[in-house]
Amino acid sequence: MTPWFEWLLQAMDERLRLRAPGRKTLNKVFPDNWSFLLGEIALVSFGILVLTGIFLTMFFSPSTAPVVYDGGAELYRGRELPAAFESIVRLTHDVPGGLFFRRIHRGASHLFIAATVMHLLRVILTGAFRRPREINYHVGIVLLTLAFGAGFTGYSLPFDSLAGTGIRVAYSELLSFPFVGDRLAFWIFGGDFPTGNMIPRFFVFHVLLIPGLLIGLISLHLAIMARQRHTQFPRPGIDGHRFVLGKPLWPSQFAITTSLVLWTGGLLALAAVLIPWSDVFLIGPYRPGEVGNNAQPDWFLFWLEGALRILPPVEFDLPGVTVSGPFLAGIVLPGLVFGYLAAYPFIERKVYGLHGEWHVLTNPLEVPLRAASAVTVFTFVLILSAAATNDILSRMTRIPIETITWFFRVTSIVVPAALGYLAWRYAARRGARAGGVASSET
């Protein structure tokens, strides 16, 4: 094999002049830490999503027109179903491996978003977003938003009872925009809910628009990462701003990445056998107007669902427009959180009067603003997420749902504020001992 590879590489090099940039890339230094692999897990999950997604696309019918199912699933044979749901039943019951690939796809989507969120947390907490890496940080935030969009549209496509309920909520959220709401809803849905356009359009968003943007921006994210130096954790006795300590891409990091691909693939395949997270066989197709008692979105939208559930029914008039609860909980709240995320690198720089570039990561417990912001926002989102499960918590604890709702109304404000204050106090003391926030600037 080796002579063939040599010949191939030689031929490529003669035509594309790869030797110099190739060597530089292969020698790129990757510092060693488990938390640097979170982004790679997201990347691997994305690859699995694309591959399984291509398979699923072949068998999916993006339409809500009624068709009669005549496959092997007894519960549905001879029934008229929305075409999208019918194709999911067919995929599950009549396509060999269909259910397995659907479950892997769903599991990979969960892991993709979870790993992206953990990666973001790592970047925020350790200060990897600081100059000169704000640019890649912002690309990353756009990627997370797109991942949410891909997750939501994918949840909607099977057009089962939960999916339809989710689309209904999204439609109302769009309508709640002041001034432009009805136009916006019309542009995206092509009419009043439920329209025949929803599933075809969501299909285009899910298999073309969002993945296209994701692939482009992930490439940009990686190119910027390759172009810039990798951040590293502080090591005693080493000036991390001048030297990067780590392993080269080839062969060390490549070996780790290969193992990670195998681990993640195995994990998702095992999960697909054991965990039926994409099954919609019993819950049945969506019928407009019929909502099950147990309707929740996927976990990454729990915080918005929770905000919708616990926000008291507010509605007030501003000149020429009515502002409603769904707008505050579903649009303003995520707008504020993502706005703060995007603005944070500049805020930290301004507040601490920082200059220059940062290549060594800092302990968040030594930067009061960062510790307080991270703790406050994270606990706030976590408590709102818990509020989205208020019906299930109520059933488990036998506490009336109204009491639980009030509990979350209070704790979602008090607990993040209190923990944020404590984090600030602790980080201020510890940071002062460590020599202040600007102590390791280049």
Binding site: D32, N33, W34, F36, L37, L38, I41, L75, Y76, R77, R79, G107, H110, L111, A114, S161, L162, F233, P234, R235, P236, I256, W263, T264, L267, A271, V273, L274, I275, P276, W277, D279, F281, L282, I283, G284, R287, V291, G292, N293, N294, A295, D298, W299, F302, L361, N363, L365, E366, D391, I392, S394, R395, R398, P400, I401, E402, R430, R433, A434
Partner: protein, 271 residues
């Protein structure tokens, strides 16, 4: 069944009064519709067993004459005289009554044996003048049609797959899988507690059979090797947490470097 030894004498007095009441009741309602049922004598052994169950497990709260009363813990116990027979049967079959804990913890579910329940019901029907009748359980339903009937009439409160839900104000809609078909039929036809009643004009006998068949289909769904059947997103979220942890552990294992920051300097120590 505590205090069984002394039960014999305690049992006789109410029995006598029941006999008197029954005579009076029969005299009063003779000729009224439904009187025929009350005149059908029940087997004496059944009557004795039913009376025994009633006096030992019901009379304390609901009163010796089924007139209602108070539970030891405070809340009112409803009158049983003239109650709907399907409601009484449903409450007994699902184990809501008699309380599993004699001191009145109504959340414990310990249903009577079939024999004791049937005796109690026959005796109550005979002595307390229960109204209505136990609905028929139509058989041979089609689960496919049942899913549509269920989605249109039941899912709003009981969840899309019969998992139960919240009804507000501390009330909960019960789980519907693993229920006897008769209980489903009784609930639909009679509308127990806060549940609305569905007559044959809303859910026909055939649709009732379909609904029961659908719930049996849900119950029989095999699930994965670890026994999981379709997950609500909340439980799916718990598994997302689990695979995220597995991913973190594999990242730690692969990189071999778990520590992140050097230890914090102690107070007074120079960084």
């Amino acid at each position: 069944m505590s205090g069984r030894a002394g039960a014999g004498t305690r049992r006789l007095r109410p029995l006598l009064s029941w006999a008197l009441l029954a005579v009076a009741g029969t005299a009063l309602t003779a000729g009224a519709p439904g009187a025929q049922a009350q005149q059908d004598a029940i087997d004496p052994a059944t009557a004795i067993q039913g009376a025994d169950v009633y006096t030992s497990q019901c009379a304390r709260c609901h009163g010796a004459a089924g007139q209602g009363g108070q539970t030891p813990s405070g809340p009112d116990a409803p009158a049983l005289r003239g109650a709907h027979i399907a409601l009484v049967d449903l409450v007994l079959r699902t184990g809501r009554m008699p309380p599993g804990d004699p001191d009145g913890d109504t959340k414990a579910r310990r249903p009577l044996t079939d024999e004791r329940r049937d005796a109690l019901l026959a005796w109550m029907d005979d002595q307390l003048g229960l109204r209505g009748e136990i609905p028929r359980v139509p058989v041979g339903g089609n689960p496919a049609r049942g899913q549509e009937v269920y989605a249109a009439n039941c899912a709003q409160c009981h969840g899309s797959t019969g998992g139960g839900g919240v009804a507000g104000g501390g009330a909960f809609t019960p789980v519907l899988v693993d229920r006897e078909p008769l209980v489903i039929a009784e609930a639909i036809r009679m509308g127990p507690f806060q549940m609305p009643q569905f007559g044959e004009d809303v859910i026909s006998d055939r649709e009732l059979a379909d609904t029961i068949a659908f719930l049996e289909e849900v119950q029989g769904e095999p699930g994965t090797p670890v026994g999981l059947v379709e997950l609500n997103p909340v439980f799916a979220g718990a598994f997302v947490f689990a695979i995220s942890l597995a991913a973190i552990v594999s990242a730690m294992w692969l990189s071999g470097r778990v520590s992140m920051f050097p230890d914090a300097p102690e107070d007074g120590e120079q960084p």
